[in-house]
């Protein structure tokens, strides 16, 4: 179906994009990869009167690694991250990037667009909340850097002002003794996950959990920190028993809704199973093992 008509504006810089957003008013939108916005516009669920295309702004696709940080430009595509050696150094980032939707969508969709959309079923929010992540934003008042926890306010809602844009995503590299995993369970490649689970765990010695974050996706209005699950492991020995207790605690943190992807009970079972598996993989990775993980769907 045709989208409603809109006027098209090509920004040469983020400053120009911000000025255009202000000038064109509340019904104008930023166009980056377009992999969520365009389908919504075609189904006429979204009806912006003006689009400001930032795809032609130079220098926004870089992925840089220095001073213990990874920096992703706003236009870094999922496929760029999937193929980046710098990002591969943090396995949970590769898990996430390499399985979002399908090849074609990954070639076009952007990490900043995913965070700015704040879809509760989006992959990046869930993944990046397990790490120290901040979002650098630019607007008429200049730049500000916001912690990801504060950036996402609610379902489809961030703290971005209408004339503010994401410039960069900054991720602090976890310590060497840390390992993570992102698992997303979906019915086929191009669809959103039914449930996803992200874990980042730092070991003290061989098997004591020093620090841990467990985040659940698709089972609440935003990605959910499963603090009960974290409490079952932090400062304790990681073994089959504590992992099982953490998985059960995670199930209690989930707030799923029954929908076409599954019932409440089914999703809670999935939460526990995915958290258990993600914890197992994260521990092995923290010990230096190479383990393949990521999105799972029939036919993979």
């Amino acid at each position: 179906m045709y989208a409603y008509p809109f006027s098209y504006h090509r920004a040469k810089s983020l400053a120009e994009a911000s000025a255009l957003l202000r000038q064109l008013g509340e019904e104008s939108r930023v166009l980056a990869g377009g992999q969520s916005l365009i389908p919504l516009m075609k189904m006429r669920l979204a009806r912006p009167t003006a689009l400001i295309d930032i795809n032609f702004v130079p220098g926004l696709s870089d992925i840089q690694s220095h001073n213990g940080e990874l920096r992703f430009g706003a236009l870094a595509r999922h496929a760029d991250i999937e193929m980046s050696d710098a990002a591969a150094a943090i396995p949970i980032l590769h898990d996430c990037a390499a399985g979002i939707a399908d090849v074609q969508v990954r070639n076009q969709g952007t990490i900043a667009g995913s965070l700015a959309e704040a879809d509760p079923s989006g992959d990046w929010g869930t993944t990046l909340l397990t790490l120290e992540t901040s979002v650098q934003c630019t607007g008429p008042q200049g730049e500000r850097t916001i912690k990801l926890e504060e950036f996402i306010k609610d379902a489809y809602t961030t703290v971005l002002a209408h004339d503010e844009l994401v410039r960069e995503i900054i991720v602090k590299k976890p310590p060497r003794s840390s390992g993570g995993a992102y698992l997303a369970f979906k019915r086929s490649a191009p669809v959103y996950a039914t449930v996803s689970a992200a874990v980042q765990l730092t070991l003290d010695g061989k098997d004591i959990c020093k620090e841990i974050r467990v985040v659940l996706g698709c089972v609440g209005l935003t990605a959910i920190r499963a603090k009960g699950a974290e409490g079952e492991l932090r400062g304790k020995k990681v073994d089959g028993k504590t992992i099982q207790r953490a998985a059960e605690a995670a199930r209690e943190s989930a707030e799923p809704l029954s929908d076409m992807r599954g019932s409440v009970d089914y999703k809670r079972v999935l939460v526990a199973a995915l958290v258990k598996r993600a914890l197992g993989i994260a521990v092995r990775r923290a010990r230096g093992e190479r383990v393949e993980a990521g999105h799972e769907y029939v036919g993979r």
């Binding site: 179906m1 045709y2 989208a3 409603y4 008509p5 809109f6 006027s7 098209y8 090509r10 166009l31 377009g34 992999q35 365009i38 389908p39 516009m41 075609k42 189904m43 689009l51 295309d53 795809n55 496929a79 939707a101 399908d102 090849v103 074609q104 969508v105 070639n107 076009q108 086929s188 490649a189 191009p190 669809v191 769907y297 036919g299 993979r300």
Partner: protein, 161 residues
């Protein structure tokens, strides 16, 4: 139709410079099919699922039903019409024909371009890599076994050259 200003879009399609003045909401696939009359690129689901509309944009596959044409301005596009040379089929097309990798053929243009993209990055893909590479292309009649065979054959044939 409100008085929205049309936008000039210039794209190199299959090596040829093409240009048209379009409404901004024109999808890339509509630009190809309706403005350029290149109807080999198909519209299947129109919801970013099926991949029948897959084309190469600057060497990477995209779903041309999920880009507005002005986003591809200045870019280079390969569609299924650009695969053969002087009437000779591309090895990927030849392999799909040999292996019965199609029945009705509706999904085929997209699968051909996803295969060209895959083999350009990875000349010897494993079966798992092939499955992952075509996860965004849906076939509703042949089934995928012959498509996998065709992609394996194309990889072998292209490897010999």
């Amino acid at each position: 139709m409100s008085g929205v200003e049309k936008v000039s879009v210039r794209i190199r399609v299959n090596g040829e410079a093409r240009e048209a003045l379009v409404e901004p909401r024109t999808l890339l696939v509509e630009f190809l099919r309706e403005n350029l009359n290149l109807t080999g690129t198909h519209i299947g689901c129109d919801t970013t699922y099926c991949g029948a509309c897959t084309v190469l944009l600057n060497g990477r596959t995209v779903k041309s039903c999920t880009l507005f044409a002005p986003m591809a301005d200045g870019g280079e596009i390969t569609t299924v019409e650009g695969l053969s040379t002087n009437g000779a089929l591309h090895p990927v097309q030849h392999a799909f024909a040999e292996c019965h990798g199609l029945q009705c053929g509706f999904c085929t243009p997209g699968l051909l371009l996803s295969t060209v993209h895959l083999l350009g990055k990875n000349a010897k893909p494993t079966d798992k890599q092939i499955r992952k590479a075509i996860a965004g292309n849906t076939c509703r009649c042949t089934g995928y076994q012959n498509i996998l065979k065709a992609i394996r054959m194309a990889a072998d044939e292209m490897g010999k050259r």
